[in-house]
Symmetry: C2
């Protein structure tokens, strides 16, 4: 992790890789590193698809170690969707593998000279870049199959589907899971379009022959990791709820509290919720011989992932996440779990963000392109995106463009990025995060659902404005720091509630690197990251006026609680006053 | 002109009109009035197509008088294209007629209760609003024919075509000319979409029985007007060039100086320029029995308008303006005048901004949707917009959306509005105006082509950055003031060069209203308007970062002079430091 692999895609004769020392970026990982590089090296007013933008792919500080939950990876760039800085985060195998290979980051930079498409293979012996136009417009599953044939099954892949090649605002970058399936995605903000603009289709990694990264103090690290794992296992969310039902355990919970955005954010409860809940999903998976309790990367002990089989017992897709089930489900009035799973597969295969796609379909339904609840029409829309039809070009660029193209006013976006599965009127803390995160509407940036709904890490009334700014602020700071460790964000449930688990996390970092970090250090790191990100955005033209929800959230009452978003603008402007 | 007609489109039972005193807006006309109302009454962060936006249609201070050139009208709102304040200006008859009817402005406000479409008839007896769904999706020429049948031929019309009903970002509002044809348009910024969002298809005006507006001092006014007209007639641009060839006289001039954006702003000279020049166009018109010297409204002495007949001598469209000929011509590599004229007709009929449409077609050609030079493909694209196909939804929302949808980087927009017919690298003064005008890229906002190319009102080297900021500043101030008088902007040629013509203009205003305006008063008015507009934009989230050209204009050299845009960012930020 002491070098950065810079790949100049505009070099004479095709992309050229150079490994350089981390230098000034030493000590940074994950989001801290991607945001630092983007802030320093990308002109804030550049075109996101132009030669001045860079795509940074960085494992976290603890990735590639024997520590639990350390398989998350950060992807940074100027976002084609928001126009601001982006860190999009994914699970899967590549984080561990890239870290073991010794790279703190891969940076794709420059402007390609032509239209040729390239693949990049990285192993212990170095980097090989090959022109391969046979990959053009291949969906992600096919790309990975092809790479397996060429490079064997010890690899993992980072790839884009057709949406990325078409440079769509909802295009993802796929990361393969333990079964070498492209099921984990850096989904938000169109990072796949930036990879597409660099004409790189796939990065294949093979860490064969490379050891697990060694801590400075192996014994202390092992001890800290054990305490950390114990902490995760004893917390009800990370030890029971998530393993049993995955993230989709949230469907019943959010529906119950009336915060489940239904029919394009029209109401907070969905009649069909029980049919698509995590409980129903896990039950269906088990009956069909799939696995509802599974990790997305080696070293995961939470096991919130899973697999989903079709009616005949054949693998259809990974276990769809809560956000995916909601986006294609309740938000579109759809309650058919098999069709939702099919959409999850199609999104993964074409390389489309499931949240943006579902929110977009709902806006298209509001525009009258299909009735709410029409799952077949929704599936057809995803195929339009994958094929790049004219309609697909609109939908593939997200809810914002779809609203503009069809003259729809009710478009649930902030900074042009679609809101996830929590209505900001019924879960006002998440509304503060949506409004103010430098990332655009993003639940993971400061998951106030914790104290608002789950009563983890505090208890703040979800329906009232009081206390939400402080809640969101603290979570945004903590999240930015966690996103830099390579740790899965779900550790936050245990870390927020259990001081000894938080201490175990610090001890892991300290024993690995020989540091003396405290809780305050973590807070300082989080603040530093947010400051960098907001600095970039300010220079890209963002103002407090961009830290706002669309105005209808302030006026349109949301059933069943008949609430509007009540956090005042001047309060939103205090989120980053620390 | 002492009352404002407010039409609440959300009233129970359909739109309801109320005439109210001008009150606090007294003394303002045209752009000063539209911008004042928008600043005061429209929340800057509202959705442009929502109930909080307002559409303000205002004749100028001297409209409806016997003064020459006073037939311009201003349309104001929050722009669906730029997201900022918009004043879009048009010729035609309605300005004079609305002023004679005594209205300082019509304001469409509120949110319609349903999908019904309405027409509004205004005459000396009052206002009648009628539901008329038979008008749905009618193109402008058909709307006007229908209105003639219903209300007779003493009327004039303000209408939207299908693009406005579909709420497209390039949708115009059409104003009929002296022959009751919908050929004059408030083209820029999607004002037609805002009218469409209010469910108003057409406003029919009839001033029969209303006198010409009477000056306070009729003798002085008549004398001043005579001196003013004499001044216009003796200036070579307004007295000779424009009458003979119309605005399209500029094709040869801009091509000659190498500032004619060709093939989507790739180079500054077009091989086919001679085939589409104003000279060729006027010659063609004359041969076919059309009229190259004609006014767009009664009282015009410049007569830069005209008519264009097809090969069989039948009326096809008005004489296409320079910007239109360029947008659909050289910028798309098209040199067939008849096909360009057909596109002009289609744009007018569907209600689409010719500048935005042509710039959009060129971006689509850059995306590979059709080869440059393919006029039939370009015509087909306009029909797609008019029909509202999926492709039409993209194209009808302008160059910005088209670039995003098809992943094109070279998109010549500022604040998401397409640049007109002068490349900012070869005419750097107009580049300053494009970058900094609160309107987005707009040549009319500060027409630095004067001193840069035509050597009117000074002489500033077009290829160098020096002096451009001051030039653009002074022109933006003067323009804002002129746009408030109802005067055609082309008076500026004579007013800039001839102090006595400027004095005559002041004398017209003073004798009409009993005022004592000086040159300084005009400057103050212009500054006041720009300040209001920038104030709105700031509160809508605009920053200095939005006052920039796309970055490729700073790096991509423009032939034949191989220049880049060289005005520094910090210089651009000084435009409004007065």
């Amino acid at each position: 992790m002491d070098k950065i692999l810079r790949i100049d895609v505009g070099a004479e004769g095709g992309p050229k890789a150079t490994a350089v020392p981390v230098g000034e970026y030493a000590g940074l990982g994950g989001r801290a590193l991607t945001s630092a590089i983007v802030l320093k090296e990308v002109p804030p007013l550049c075109h996101p698809l132009g030669g001045e933008n860079k795509l940074v792919i960085a494992p976290g500080l603890l990735s590639g170690t024997a520590g639990a939950q350390t398989g998350r990876i950060s992807v940074g760039c100027k976002s084609p969707l928001t126009g601001g800085i982006k860190e999009s985060n994914s699970g899967g195998q590549p984080s561990q593998v890239l870290a073991k290979l010794g790279y703190g980051a891969i940076v794709l930079e420059g402007r390609p000279k032509g239209d040729d498409l390239y693949k990049i293979f990285i192993n212990k012996d170095g980097v090989k870049i090959t022109k391969d136009n046979s990959l053009k417009m291949l969906p992600n599953y096919d790309v990975v199959e092809k790479m397996k044939k060429e490079y064997g099954d010890k690899i993992c892949c980072i790839s884009i589907g057709p949406a990325g090649e078409m440079k769509m605002g909802a295009a993802t970058i796929a990361f393969t899971d333990m079964e070498l399936r492209p099921t984990r995605h850096a989904g938000r903000g169109g990072v796949g379009a930036v990879m597409g603009s660099k004409n790189i289709k796939v990065i294949v990694l093979d860490a064969t022959g490379m050891p697990v990264r060694a801590p400075k103090d192996p014994d202390k690290f092992q001890d800290a990791n054990k305490r950390f794992v114990d902490g995760l296992k004893k917390h009800p969310v990370t030890g029971q709820g998530l393993p049993a039902y995955g993230t989709n355990i949230l469907t019943n919970i959010l529906n119950e509290v009336g915060g489940y955005p239904t029919y394009n954010f029209r109401q907070g409860r969905f009649d069909g919720a029980a049919k698509i809940s995590g409980e129903t999903q896990a039950d269906t998976e088990t009956k069909r011989g799939a696995n509802p309790t599974h990790g997305c990367h080696r070293g995961c002990v939470i096991q919130c992932s899973g697999t989903y089989n079709d009616k005949d017992g054949h693998y259809l897709t990974k276990q769809p996440e809560y956000e995916t089930v909601w986006a294609h489900g309740g938000n579109c009035g759809i309650s058919d779990l098999d069709k939702i799973a099919m959409m999850d597969f199609l999104d993964d295969n074409y390389g489309i963000d499931t949240i943006e796609m579902g929110a977009t379909i709902a806006v298209a339904m509001e525009a009258g392109l299909a009735p709410f609840g029409d799952a077949d029409a929704a599936i057809k829309m995803i195929h339009e995106v994958g094929k790049g039809t004219d309609r697909g070009r609109i939908l593939g660029n997200g809810a914002g463009m779809t609203g503009k193209a069809f003259g729809v006013e009710r478009v649930p976006v902030v900074k042009n990025q679609a809101m996830p599965a929590y209505d900001p009127r019924a879960v006002q803390g998440i509304g503060v995060t949506y409004a103010t995160s430098p990332m655009g509407a993003d639940h993971t940036a400061g998951y106030a659902v914790t104290a608002n709904v789950l009563k983890v890490g505090g208890d703040v009334n979800a329906l009232k404005p009081e206390g939400q700014v402080e809640l969101s602020r603290n979570l945004q700071i903590a999240t930015a720091a966690i996103d830099s460790t390579g740790m899965c964000l779900f550790i936050a449930f245990a870390v927020l509630d259990q001081p000894d688990t938080f201490q175990a996390l610090l001890d892991m970092l300290n024993s690995f690197y020989g540091l003396n970090l405290t809780g305050d250090s973590v807070t300082e790191l989080g603040k530093k990251i947010l400051k960098m990100e907001r600095d970039f955005n300010t220079r890209a033209g963002f103002t407090p006026q961009h830290d706002r929800l669309p105005s209808y959230f302030k006026t349109e009452k949301f059933a069943p609680h008949n609430v509007t978003f009540a956090v005042k603008d001047e309060e939103l402007d205090k989120v980053f006053n620390w």
